[in-house]
């Protein structure tokens, strides 16, 4: 059987919306389980006494990366049909920086703010309204910054392609970095923990 199922026409756009809800259900469930409906828990990442954001995020990345890699090697998943956001290095580096500042100021990211507001966090609701306001502000200035946002188009590219390294080698590197990072994160938590 070949996947992605949707791309192979196993179901249509209406059913895809149901799938979206079901996947969101799982996404939100695990975000809240991890404690990511709480801005304090999330912001702790930047004060080094609780590195859960890093641990959860990189475990998820490694899990899904190993999954697509093995399913691809087995011939069950056509990875070329999985959508990649096009790379524009300049705006993505700047966007990451601005978003990182917004993360520590606001305490959430868009997905976790939904988990927060769903569990009654008033700050998460205000944060979500801030996202809406920011979206409006961005849309208003978009014509003026359009050239910058669309500059440096590299298309849909992966690290193995750009670095000219085999896919499997890069997967191994990411897993190795993640495992080393987990140990380092635990050491850091011990060093900076104890005074929440």
């Amino acid at each position: 059987m070949m996947t992605p199922l949707y791309k192979y026409g196993f179901f249509g756009d209406e059913f895809a919306l149901l799938v979206a809800f079901a996947l969101g259900l799982g996404f939100g469930f695990f975000l809240e389980r991890a404690g990511f409906g709480s801005a304090r828990k999330l912001a702790a990442q930047f004060y080094l006494y609780d590195m859960s954001v890093f641990k959860v995020m990189f475990t998820a990345i490694v899990t899904a990366l190993l999954g697509v890699t093995y399913l691809g090697w087995l011939g069950w998943l056509d990875l070329d049909l999985v959508y990649l956001v096009p790379t524009h290095l300049g705006p993505q580096l700047l966007g990451g920086l601005v978003l990182g500042v917004g993360f520590v100021v606001g305490g959430y990211c868009p997905g976790t703010s939904v988990a927060g507001l769903a569990t009654g966090r008033v700050d998460a609701l205000i944060y979500a309204l801030g996202i809406a306001a920011g979206t409006f502000a961005y849309a208003e200035v978009y014509p003026a910054i359009k050239d910058f946002v669309n500059a440096g188009a590299m298309g849909q590219v992966t690290l193995p392609e750009v670095l000219d390294v085999p896919w499997g080698v890069l997967v191994f590197a990411v897993v190795a970095i993640a495992v080393a990072g987990f140990s380092a994160a635990t050491l850091v938590e011990r060093r900076f923990g104890g005074k929440p």
């Binding site: 919306l17 969101g24 899990t63 580096l93 801030g130």
Partner: protein, 175 residues
């Protein structure tokens, strides 16, 4: 940390990560796309502006993309349904764990008003960053990270750089 005695402890971060990773993998296998969040806010904001000032929204290059040609409702979008699911899933988990309650998340030194003002400002910055980067922590860092997407990894590194660089100025809010 900072948990009430009547609520369950959070799930081990590695187990939660495997759970999230499997949901993400399911999205790749079933849909051929990853998870997201900021796109749902774009659809909702564009829909709302279109409701209040339709001529303005439709004339705007960015919002008109989310509004489409009018043949389908702007909220009938994949990410909007996914985010409704996120809210439902989080509420379910929160209720099961006894963590769903009205509260403001902040450190002991911050006032509620200051915290909410920061939440609003942080949300605005987040939106601007996510639009510049073509995705947020879900659509770029998590999804693109697992696909070894070049722009996603560049973005993810800068998120941590930005967060740590500005953390000192926000100590009063969290510690």
């Amino acid at each position: 940390m900072n948990q009430r005695p009547d609520s369950s402890p959070y799930l081990n971060p590695y187990l939660a990560g495997v759970g999230l990773g499997l949901v993400l993998l399911a999205a790749f296998v079933i849909m051929g796309r990853g998870l997201g969040a900021s796109g749902a806010f774009s659809s909702t904001a564009s829909w709302f502006v279109n409701l209040v000032a339709p001529a303005h929204a439709q004339a705007n290059e960015y919002m008109s993309e989310y509004l489409g040609d009018g043949s389908t409702h702007p909220l009938k979008a994949w990410l909007v349904f996914e985010v409704i699911g996120v809210a439902a899933g989080a509420l379910l988990s929160g209720l099961l764990a006894g963590r769903a309650r009205l509260a403001i998340e902040k450190g002991p030194r911050a006032s509620a008003a200051a915290r909410l003002a920061c939440a609003f400002g942080g949300g605005m910055l987040m939106a601007i960053g996510a639009h510049l980067a073509r995705g947020c922590t879900s659509g770029q860092a998590l999804t693109g990270g697992a696909l070894l997407n070049v722009g996603s990894w560049a973005f993810m590194i800068m998120v941590f750089v930005g967060g740590y660089a500005f953390a000192w100025f926000m100590r009063w809010q969290w510690r």
